[in-house]
Symmetry: C2
């Protein structure tokens, strides 16, 4: 990779965005960061990886103040979520500073908006493409897959809005929006690779 471009991938659940990001990173010969960010964040903040993962699952509810907190107050809960966000943001900036890479999710497009040269990509697809992927992946029927997709995207959307004050999936925030259902996974990978190489 000639340039130090950071490719951020945001994606609808079931669109194959993670797979596309991983394949693009491989094709470009650059690091790919996803769950690894959680680990790095854990190291930096002193919070355990297990704790961060658990809190990430619940973070959306706290934003709605509609949560079962298991004994912690909503204020404390929000404080923990913020700590996780801050630790993850720091990790994302560190990865970006190290050179070209692909980062999936976790508001990376927003976190890096003024820091480095980014190619911000959003991956989406029509619902049947997503249903089929999720049904296969998790051995679910269509109704369960639909529910899983809806709930996951709702969480991503709320998390993004809460920390960025922008709309998740609003194309204005991205350089490229790719419909993986219409293009196919491999074409989407190629488009990202081509775009990154030519920027």
């Amino acid at each position: 990779m000639k340039n130090d471009i950071v490719i951020t991938i945001s994606r609808e659940f079931g669109s194959g965005g993670r797979e596309i990001g991983e394949k693009a990173a491989k094709a470009l010969g650059i690091p790919f960061y996803d769950r690894a960010i959680i680990l790095k964040a854990a190291e930096n903040s002193g919070l355990s990886e297990e704790f961060i993962e658990k809190e990430e699952q619940r973070v959306t509810n706290s934003m709605l103040f509609n949560l079962s907190t298991g004994g912690i107050s909503s204020q404390n809960f929000q404080f923990m979520s913020d700590q996780i966000y801050i630790a993850q943001s720091r990790a994302i900036r560190e990865y970006a500073d190290e050179g070209a890479c692909v980062i999936v999710g976790r508001c990376a497009d927003y976190i890096l908006r003024e820091d480095v040269k980014c190619l911000n990509v959003f991956i989406y697809a029509d619902k049947y493409f997503k249903f089929n992927r999720i049904m296969k992946k998790y051995a679910l029927d269509q109704s369960a897959a639909e529910k899983m997709i809806r709930e996951s995207d709702k969480k991503r959307s709320r998390h993004y809005r809460f920390y960025t004050s922008m709309e998740w999936g609003d194309k204005e925030n991205y350089a490229l929006c790719l419909n993986s259902g219409k293009l196919g996974i491999d074409n989407a990978v190629r488009i990202i690779v081509d775009a990154a190489e030519k920027m």
Copy 2:
């Protein structure tokens, strides 16, 4: 061009979408259709090119029933708009049947949705990119450019919604959405060409 793919380009006013479409068609060695569609529609419908152009300018107002009709009733006015839409749709289908091509605007993505293999593209950009292009092109100050962009996009959006019942610019309707301001005109062209060749 190996395949008979039809590339439809929808675009925000000032985003350079027309230029991108024209350059992509040239790079692929396939026909490019924009105003030519109006001429073809005129031939097919018996309506004069001049009349169609004039009505196209006014069509949005009729949808709002908030028009100065210059003597024709809003019902007749809508009837004329529909005739133009039908004639243009026929022309678009004829062009698509002839083989690979690029068609800009005029709801081509919707008109061809079940007919042929399409690569539907939406071109957009941040407002300052668009302001600068329009200010240069029409020798306007920023305020006038902003007004021109706003009014033009409003017309396109209403026209699209009226005839397709879908939202203009909603990324779900496109395979590729490209931010020409972030990517640059030439990169946007290359991405479309690559995508079309690989589909």
